[in-house]
């Protein structure tokens, strides 16, 4: 792999840009691998990357039923933060956020991490108490956040209406080191780095079955034939339940649609990410000038990657009250992704009832921010066969044993 650099750019500028290589190879599957990862989204590719980088395992295939990064990695609102209440959540999300800080250098690919700051508005007294508690918890966890006044909120984001009649802004939980990234670039950067380590990324290859012998996984049946493996990682977000079913176990997840949308591009008007969880909408501005908008999930099981229009209406209604200046903006694009929600709204990174088969799922509505940390923890689990400190609280048996990581209560909303 040729490195990207200012020098390379200058060299190519002189040669009509004919010397750039393909970012990743497009191989046919081999007969077998040491590790197969199902799902070439951010989490799957990050898992493969850290298997190679941290553990020296490079005889790896990443199978993708569609195109690389075409699922939820390409469908989110790119928010990166780690201001969680529970210790195990804060640990993995903060690991992830800190990996994002150096991801571009690490991958030699511009992931465009922009630590512009994330503020979560407190618009009820209940929320004020909740976020004060989170800020205290974060300082114990070593995550830098602070509770800021309405005046500071207005200073950081002048287009915010802090005096709304129904939900005035009473303060905010502010994480200055949070921000946004370029979602596609994260997938592409990991893919390029994986390919450079000799891993096979196989697109348009849908897994149709999981084969095993004596309770240990032996391979997968795919649309490109049978592929053998010694270890299997299932990292497929919305379809986790379906692939788990092939491997012979059931997961505590339900798939629902989550929608997002962007407005027409306008001049720069906000340089922070704002989340308003009481009225349930969040917004940031992309480098292209579009307002990137998200809200809550749709309310029923759905695998169609599209949602109901009234949810968009509810999100925009909330945001127009919060940001009156967007009321005349036209919305440009809208889309949906299928998110896998667990009972406690926290992810699962776990061994499974099938030997040498591992699962990474349940990131629900907040997976993008977790990509590097999730891959790091999953690679550790797959390489050693046992969870490390980041993953150990997230096993799938916590639901049976009542060890919930209850972020749904902490956040008050899906997140």
């Amino acid at each position: 792999m040729k490195r990207y650099s200012a020098f390379a750019l200058a060299r190519e500028a002189l040669t009509n840009h004919l010397g750039w290589e393909r970012a990743w190879a497009n191989p046919a599957p081999k007969a077998s691998y040491d590790v197969i990862i199902v799902g070439a989204g951010g989490h799957g590719l990050a898992t493969a990357y850290y298997l190679g980088k941290n553990h020296g395992i490079t005889n790896v295939a990443i199978l993708e039923k569609g195109w690389l990064g075409g699922g939820n990695t390409g469908r989110n609102t790119t928010i990166i933060r780690s201001n969680y209440l529970q210790d195990s959540s804060a640990a993995i999300y903060e690991k992830s956020r800190s990996l994002y800080e150096t991801l571009s250098q690490d991958l030699n690919y511009n992931a465009m991490f922009s630590p512009r700051g994330v503020m979560m508005l407190a618009q009820t007294h209940h929320e004020v108490r909740g976020y004060l508690r989170t800020a205290h918890a974060n300082s114990l966890q070593g995550v830098t956040t602070e509770f800021i006044s309405p005046q500071k909120v207005k200073e950081l984001c002048p287009i915010l209406n802090i005096d709304g009649p129904r939900y005035p802004v009473l303060g905010a939980l502010w994480q200055a080191r949070g921000g946004t990234g370029r979602h596609d670039a994260v997938a592409w950067g990991y893919a390029r780095a994986c390919s450079a380590m000799g891993m096979d990324i196989i697109q348009n290859c849908e897994v149709k079955g999981v084969t095993s012998a004596n309770g240990v996984v032996t391979g997968v049946e795919t649309t490109k034939g049978r592929i053998g493996t010694r270890k299997l990682g299932i990292v497929v977000a919305g379809h986790s339940g379906q692939v788990a079913d092939m491997a012979g176990f059931r997961l505590p997840v339900e798939a629902v649609a989550l929608q997002a949308l962007v407005s027409e591009p306008i001049k720069p008007c906000m340089d922070v990410v704002v989340m308003a969880n009481t009225v349930h909408g969040y917004m940031s501005q992309s480098d292209k000038g579009e307002m990137v908008i998200g809200g809550g999930t749709d309310g029923f099981n759905n695998f169609t990657q599209r949602g109901s229009f009234h949810h968009i209406e509810e999100t925009l209604r909330a945001l127009i009250e919060t940001f009156p200046i967007i009321s005349r903006l036209k919305m440009l694009r809208q889309w949906g992704g299928i998110v896998d929600m667990t009972g406690d709204r926290s992810p699962i990174i776990s061994k499974t009832p099938l030997g040498n088969c591992f699962i990474n799922c349940g990131w629900g509505t907040g997976g993008f921010k977790a990509i590097p940390g999730s891959g790091w923890a999953m690679a550790d689990l797959m390489a050693r066969g046992e969870p490390g400190p980041l993953a150990e609280a997230f096993d799938m048996w916590r639901f049976k044993e009542g060890r919930f990581i209850d972020e749904s209560v902490a956040a008050g909303v899906a997140h």
């Binding site: 505590p252 169609t304 109901s308 229009f309 009234h310």
Partner: protein, 107 residues
Amino acid sequence: MLTLECPYCGVMADETELTPGYEAHLKRFGPGSTDEEFEAYMFARKNPKGVHFERWRHAYGCGKWFLAARDTATLEVFGTYPAQSSAPPQALQDKIKAKRPDWKGYK
């Protein structure tokens, strides 16, 4: 927008009139059950990509809970029936089987 017929008041209700209640026909386990039984009841959902049976409430209408059969992969609605049903009506099951020959039954 999803539209379901309320089997009680007969109204064709838009999704905005309804509250979703997720999987139907759950067998409830409480004190005295095993950990596995309680976990399965509380968390292990079928979450099928295809035919699904759900609880819905006609919240902004007659207020009654009812049950619906729906395809989660196409959003097609097969039918609705009263909540006081321990299994989907046979006629509805036959209708689903005719449309989805691969369907393995509601259990």
